[in-house]
């Protein structure tokens, strides 16, 4: 079995968010980029664990994006992925990414496509589902545990208030939630090895582009906090009722 892990690149969680070009573009100046945590900590690490357990022959990572992401892809290789691909185009939205991935997978079949449940930048959480729909593969969303049993994926799928144990024959698209694996730190050997692992750049496939970010605006800050005496919690209840009107 071969596993494909699509990875997104996102601003570091502590990055200062700002916009340029009249608030129509994210300002990447001085921003540190990382692999989207859901893709890295859960999807990629679990894929590597499955390979280490002898359940997968190969783990490939793929990124839809421009050359500035190559360092991010190398990090995935340093963590242990065998090879990597970059589809050379702007990842304008989840639909664009999914269409590119679907074309790639039609030409290069993988039995398991394992990706994070959402990016922490655009928070769409739909790329995996669109991809599964385009390929008409079965889709397990929000898996917090994943095992492979012969030709079958066995997963815990998170639902409201709990999880369900599900099974599905391969091939399948799975989106990874917290809990599937634990974050790893690349070691020196991995970082050295990553330098010579394959990173193949693939020209973009023709796709539909249907959405556009027209305008950004920063969320407004809150006005100053009103402090209430810990011995007068009734005051808080009163304010929540009469001023905030939330109870």
């Amino acid at each position: 079995m071969k596993i494909l892990v699509p990875i997104a690149q996102v601003p570091d969680t502590t990055a200062k968010i700002s916009f340029t070009d009249n608030n129509t573009k994210f300002n990447a100046t001085g921003v540190q980029f990382i692999i989207n945590p859901y893709d890295e900590w859960y999807a990629l690490v679990r894929a590597l664990e499955l390979k280490e357990a002898g359940l997968a022959e190969k783990v490939s990572v793929i990124h839809v994006g421009l050359a500035d992401a190559d360092a991010t892809i190398r990090k995935a290789l340093a963590l242990g992925a065998d090879d990597s691909f970059r589809i050379d185009t702007d990842p304008a939205d989840a639909y664009v990414v999914a269409q590119q991935l679907a074309q790639f997978i039609k030409n290069n079949p993988y039995e398991l496509i394992l990706m994070g449940k959402e990016t922490i930048s655009y928070n769409s959480g739909v790329a995996a589902g669109i991809l599964a729909g385009l390929l008409d593969y079965p889709y397990i969303a929000n898996a917090s545990k994943l095992d492979i049993n012969g030709n079958t994926a066995v997963a815990h799928q998170d639902i409201e208030g709990g999880y369900q144990v599900v099974e599905c024959a391969l091939p399948v698209v799975i989106s990874a939630n917290k809990g599937m694996a634990e974050q790893r730190i690349p070691n020196m050997k991995g970082i050295m090895a990553a330098r010579t692992k394959p990173l193949q750049v693939i020209p973009a496939y023709p796709v539909n582009i249907t959405t556009k970010y027209e305008q950004f605006e920063l969320a407004p800050g809150r006005s100053a906090c009103k402090f209430i005496d810990p011995n007068n919690v009734e005051e808080l209840v009163h304010l929540l009722h009469t001023e905030a009107k939330v109870i």
Partner: protein, 328 residues
């Protein structure tokens, strides 16, 4: 053009709040595009069907039989696809909850069309270009996103709008049985519930009581649950609390957990790290209870109490109970 909403009530016949919101939102789109708001519901009871009409549905197609295969997202999406064809639908609206997001995205793939995910409001409709507002960068910014595909799939973030109920509205209701044979590929073997508190799904909850590492251990969560119960709230937690398995991980809110925007968020023993704030800053009102007056969370709060949770929270619970009793 007509707009289709999917409302799954197969659990107990009750349509969820997030689906009423989606219906109301779809009715606004339908109004502006001169179409109809059609709801495809699954096992909705009479009360829910009436409420769907009051939320704006003009036609309700209610599937009355069990379709076990529908727990497979791809089956749910295929059933929806069928009704988009038979009802002449251009736009589909689903709530952006766990199930809605999965079904909507799969449907967008089947239709090979664009999707506007997790929108919070409609900005404008101009021909076949719709502009929506949505949160990006984990609540640190808002964006206007335009979508111009011929067919559109839209998911609405729960708790984003106030439904204007119209009790005069009457819908055409069709109870049907869905007899097509669907075989699930993803098979559910068992369902495990891990919620200990009430039954309010976190993303839909209007009030959320949340605990952090300041509570010292899972054995101390009684005070959080008591307060949540008094308020009719859902419970949540910070990431290290879920990481340490003090609480189930689906309670983890923040940038790498779930993002919520309740009317009231009460943070107890949580420092207010940037990644935590990212998931809760959309809340309308934030109350912070923390022993450390320098805790960064106070900068993001509307009301703060500097004090020990173990003393303050039980007192607050009592005060809430008294207030609730006085309201009756």
């Amino acid at each position: 053009m007509s707009v289709l909403v999917f409302a799954d009530a197969s659990n107990n016949g009750k349509v969820k709040k997030a689906s009423f919101e989606a219906t109301y939102f779809a009715s606004q789109i339908a109004q502006q595009t001169g179409g109809k708001c059609v709801v495809l519901s699954l096992k909705a009871d009479d009360d829910s069907k009436q409420k769907l009409a009051h939320a704006g549905a003009q036609k309700i197609i209610n599937i009355t039989n069990d379709i076990p295969a529908i727990s497979d997202v791809s089956v749910a999406a295929k059933i929806l696809l069928k009704y988009t064809q038979t009802e002449g639908i251009k736009d589909v609206v689903l709530p952006n909850d766990i199930q809605g997001k999965a079904v909507a995205s799969y449907l967008a793939g089947l239709l090979n069309t664009g999707i506007a995910p997790a929108v919070t409001s409609l900005v404008s409709i101009n021909g076949s270009t719709y502009v929506f507002k949505r949160n990006v960068f984990s609540g640190k910014a808002y964006a206007q996103i335009s979508i111009s595909s011929d067919k559109k799939v839209i998911t609405l973030l729960p708790n984003s709008l106030q439904i204007q109920w119209n009790t005069q509205n009457i819908a055409e209701i069709k109870d049907i049985t869905e007899n097509d044979n669907y075989t699930p590929r993803v098979i559910v073997k068992s369902v495990e519930k891990t919620t200990t508190g009430g039954n309010i799904p976190l993303p839909e909850a209007e009030i959320v009581v949340s605990g952090g590492r300041g509570l010292k251990g899972p054995e101390n969560w009684g005070i959080i649950e008591d307060l949540a119960k008094a308020l009719g709230a859902a419970t949540a937690c910070s990431r290290p609390v879920a990481d340490a398995h003090w609480r189930p991980h689906h309670e983890h809110v923040g940038q790498t957990g779930i993002a919520i925007r309740p009317n009231l968020y009460i943070a107890i023993g949580i420092s207010g790290a940037i990644q935590h704030l990212a998931g809760v800053s959309g809340s309308k009102t934030i109350v912070v209870i923390n022993t450390d007056k320098e805790a960064p969370f106070f900068k993001a709060a509307d009301y703060g109490i500097v004090g020990d949770a173990f003393e303050v929270v039980p007192k607050l619970t009592e005060a809430i109970k008294k207030f609730k009793a006085s309201q009756q």
